[in-house]
C-alpha cells in the first residue's frame, strides 16, 4: 500500500461518498477553490456549485442550514476551518443538531457532518490553536471522531457521512502535511472502536488526535528504558470504546490520558472518572492527565511548547507514574 497525503485522502473520501450518494453535499468558506487547507480539492470541478457550496462567514446560519437540510432528507457536510470558529455555531450544533432526534421523540434525525480542525504547535495563538473536543463531548447527541492518520481519515469520514446522526470530525491540522498508507476503494472504520496503536504491559497511554504521534514517540523512547507502554487512540470520543480502555487498564494497572485541550473539564477528566468507576480495583497508582494547563494558547513558540504536552513531557509523566 503506498502512502497518500492526509488531505488528499480527505478530499477523496468526500468525493467517493458524493459519488455514492447524491444526497451528500458540501458547504464551507472557499470549498469551491479546494478549501483553505486543500482538503476539498477537485470536488467543485466534479460536482458543481449546487453540491459544493461556498458560504459567507455565517457559521451559525450555515450549520443551521445543514440541520434543515439534514432533517429533510439530505446529508450535508459543513467545513468549519478551525474549531475556534465553531463557537459561533454552537447554538445550532448543541441546541439544535444534537437534540433534534431527542426533542422529536425519535421522529426525526439530523444526519450531518461538521468537519473542523483542532490543533496547535504552529504559532497561531489563542484563537486558532484550541482543541475543543471536550466542549462537543459535553452535549448528548453528537458523535465525535478524531482521525489521526490518512487511513483513519478516510474510514471515519465515510462512516460519519453514512451515519444517521450528527457527527463532528476534528482533523488536527498537523496531520494535513503528513502522509500514510490508505487503501484505494471503499472501506469504513466503525465509530466507537478504539485502535490499540502499540501493545504494552506497564501503562495505558490514551492519546487524543495530534497527541497520538507524540505518544508513539514517547513509547518508543521509554522502550529503551525497559518501560512497555500500551498506546491507545480512541478515534471517536462519542461513542467511546470504554471496553478497550478498561481492558487495557485491567492489564497495565495504570492510565495516563494526554490531550491538546485544556486540562480542566477536559476529555481526560471524563475518561478517567469513568475508568475509576469501572476499574478502580485494578489501578496501582492514581490515573493522570496531561493537557494544557488552564491557560489559553500563547503565541511565542517557547511558551507554546511549555503549555502543550509533547513526547518528552509524556515520557516524564510516565516515568513518574512508574516510580
Amino acid at each position: 500500500m503506498k502512502d497518500v497525503n492526509y488531505r488528499t485522502v480527505v478530499a477523496g473520501a468526500i468525493r467517493e461518498e458524493m459519488e455514492r450518494d447524491e444526497r451528500v453535499f458540501l458547504m464551507g468558506q472557499g470549498v469551491q477553490a479546494g478549501g483553505s487547507y486543500m482538503t476539498c480539492e477537485g470536488l467543485f470541478d466534479l460536482f458543481g456549485p449546487d453540491r459544493v457550496r461556498d458560504t459567507p462567514i455565517s457559521e451559525d446560519s450555515v450549520v443551521g442550514c445543514a440541520v434543515g437540510a439534514a432533517i429533510t432528507g439530505l446529508r450535508p457536510i459543513v467545513e468549519i476551518l478551525y474549531c475556534d470558529f465553531a463557537l459561533r455555531a454552537m447554538d445550532q450544533i448543541a441546541n439544535q443538531a444534537a437534540k433534534y432526534r431527542y426533542m422529536s421523540g425519535g421522529r426525526m434525525a439530523a444526519p450531518m457532518v461538521i468537519r473542523t480542525s483542532c490543533g496547535y504547535g504552529a504559532s497561531r495563538a489563542a484563537q486558532h490553536s484550541q482543541s475543543l473536543e471536550s466542549m462537543f463531548f459535553h452535549f448528548p447527541g453528537l458523535k465525535i471522531a478524531l482521525p489521526s492518520s490518512a487511513y483513519t481519515a478516510k474510514g471515519l469520514m465515510k462512516s460519519a457521512i453514512r451515519d444517521d446522526n450528527p457527527v463532528i470530525i476534528m482533523e488536527s491540522f498537523q496531520f494535513y502535511r503528513t502522509a500514510g498508507p490508505a487503501p484505494e476503494g471503499d472501506y469504513t472504520i466503525p465509530l466507537g472502536k478504539a485502535e490499540v496503536k502499540k501493545e504494552g504491559t506497564d501503562i495505558t497511554l490514551l492519546a487524543i488526535s495530534a497527541m497520538v504521534p507524540q505518544a508513539m514517540k514517547a513509547a518508543d523512547s521509554l522502550a529503551g528504558e525497559g518501560i512497555d507502554v500500551e498506546v491507545i487512540d480512541p478515534l471517536t470520543l462519542v461513542p467511546l470504546d470504554m471496553e478497550t480502555i478498561v481492558n487495557s487498564v485491567q492489564k497495565t494497572n495504570r492510565l495516563l490520558v494526554v490531550e491538546g485541550g485544556t486540562k480542566r473539564g477536559g476529555v481526560g477528566s471524563e475518561i478517567i472518572a469513568s475508568v475509576v468507576e469501572e476499574a478502580f480495583d485494578h489501578l496501582d497508582c492514581p490515573p493522570s492527565r496531561l493537557a494544557v494547563p488552564n491557560t489559553p494558547i500563547p503565541f511565542a513558540s517557547n511558551m507554546e511548547d511549555l503549555v502543550l504536552p509533547n513526547s518528552a513531557s509524556i515520557a516524564n509523566a510516565i516515568r513518574r507514574m512508574l516510580r
Partner: protein
C-alpha cells in the same frame, strides 16, 4: 385577488380553532398542566393566512409561540394536547412539550425554544427542497425580537445569495417580552430591512387574514418560480401576556387602552364581519363552526386524558438513532 367564500370560511374556522385551543390551554394550565405556554391569541391571522397558502408537504419552522402555527398547518389536536399532558401519544413522545412541537407528517419541522434559531433551519429545508427539485417552500415564523438576532441577518443574506424558496414571516407584535419594538429595534418597519438583502419585503396588516393570505400566496408563487425569498412583516398584537406565567396580560409594561384598541382589531372579529357583510355566512353556520371547534378540542382532551403516561425510561432513548454512543454504558 378575490378570496373565495370557501377559503374565507375555512380561514375563519381555523382561526376560531386556534382561539378556542388557547382558551383550553389556559384552563388546563390553571388546573395544573405543566410547561411554559406562549399563546397565539391576537396572532391567528398570521398563522392561518400564511399556512392556508401552503400545501401539506410545504415546510414551516416556528418559534416558542408555535402552537397556532402547528394547528394552522393541519396539526393534530390530539397529538399536541397529549404532548402537553405528558402522554405516549404526544407528537414528541413527551420529549418536547409546548416549545418544541415537531410533526413531520404535516411539515412542521419544529417550534424552537431559542429565539431566532429556527430561521436557518428553514433556510436549510428550503435549500434541501431546491436541491431535490421538490417544489416545496419553507415558511419561517419569527417575532420582532428575533429580527435583531445575528442569525436573522445571516439568514436573510443566505436566502438572498442562494435564492432560497423561503418565506420569512415576521410577527411584529410590538414586544419582545416587556421590551417594546421602539426600544429594541433601530427601525420600526422591519420589512424595510429586506431591501438590504435584495429580498422583497412587505408590510402587512397582520390582523387581516385576507391580507396575510394574499401576500403569502404571492410569496409562495415567487418561491416556486425560483425567484427566491420574500419577507412579510405582519403587524399584529398578542392578547395575552408573553406567556401564561404572566397572568396580567402584560399590563406591567403596556397600557390597558393599547390592549383594548388592539382587541377591537381582533382578526376573528374582522373576518366574521366580512363574512356577514358579504352575506357569505349565516348565524347558524357560525354557531356550527364554533361547536365543531369546541367539540374537536374536547375530544382531543379526552383522548389525551385516556392515553397512557409516557414511561419514564423513554428519557434514555432517542439520543441517537442507534441509541448508542453514551459514554457510561455500565453502572451509571
Amino acid at each position: 385577488m378575490e378570496i373565495s367564500r370557501e377559503i374565507l370560511i375555512g380561514m375563519y374556522s381555523k382561526m376560531l380553532l386556534l382561539r378556542r385551543f388557547d382558551e383550553k390551554v389556559v384552563e388546563l394550565y390553571r388546573s395544573g398542566m405543566k410547561g411554559l405556554y406562549h399563546l397565539t391569541a391576537g396572532g391567528e391571522a398570521v398563522a392561518v393566512g400564511v399556512c392556508s397558502a401552503l400545501s401539506q408537504d410545504d415546510y414551516i419552522l416556528s418559534t416558542h409561540r408555535g402552537k397556532g402555527h402547528y394547528l394552522a398547518k393541519g396539526g393534530d389536536l390530539q397529538a399536541i394536547l397529549a404532548e402537553f399532558m405528558e402522554k405516549q401519544t404526544g407528537c414528541n413522545r413527551g420529549k418536547g412539550g409546548p416549545m418544541h412541537i415537531i410533526d413531520p407528517s404535516v411539515g412542521m419541522l419544529g417550534a424552537n425554544g431559542i429565539v431566532g434559531s429556527s430561521l436557518p433551519i428553514a433556510c436549510g429545508a428550503a435549500l434541501s427542497a431546491k436541491l431535490r427539485r421538490s417544489g416545496q417552500v419553507a415558511a419561517a415564523f419569527f417575532g420582532d425580537g428575533a429580527a435583531n438576532s445575528g442569525v436573522w441577518h445571516e439568514c436573510m443574506n443566505l436566502a438572498g445569495i442562494w435564492k432560497l424558496p423561503v418565506i420569512f414571516v415576521c410577527e411584529n407584535n410590538f414586544y419582545q417580552e416587556s421590551v417594546p419594538v421602539s426600544r429594541h429595534s433601530s427601525i420600526q418597519d422591519l420589512y424595510a430591512r429586506a431591501a438590504g438583502y435584495n429580498i422583497p419585503g412587505y408590510g402587512i396588516d397582520g390582523m387581516d387574514v385576507s391580507a396575510v393570505y394574499e401576500a403569502a400566496v404571492e410569496a409562495v408563487q415567487r418561491a416556486k418560480r425560483g425567484d427566491g425569498a420574500t419577507m412579510l412583516e405582519c403587524k399584529t398584537y398578542r392578547f395575552h401576556g408573553h406567556s401564561e406565567a404572566d397572568p396580567t396580560k402584560g399590563l406591567r409594561y403596556r397600557s390597558g387602552e393599547e390592549l383594548a384598541a388592539w382587541l377591537e382589531k381582533c382578526p376573528l372579529k374582522q373576518a366574521k364581519a366580512r363574512l356577514l357583510e358579504r352575506g357569505w355566512i349565516a348565524d347558524a353556520e357560525l354557531e356550527a363552526i364554533d361547536q365543531r371547534c369546541t367539540q374537536g378540542i374536547e375530544e382531543a382532551v379526552n383522548f389525551a386524558k385516556s392515553s397512557p403516561d409516557v414511561p419514564a425510561e423513554w428519557a434514555l432513548k432517542d439520543v441517537f438513532t442507534d441509541d448508542q454512543g453514551e459514554i457510561c454504558h455500565e453502572g451509571c
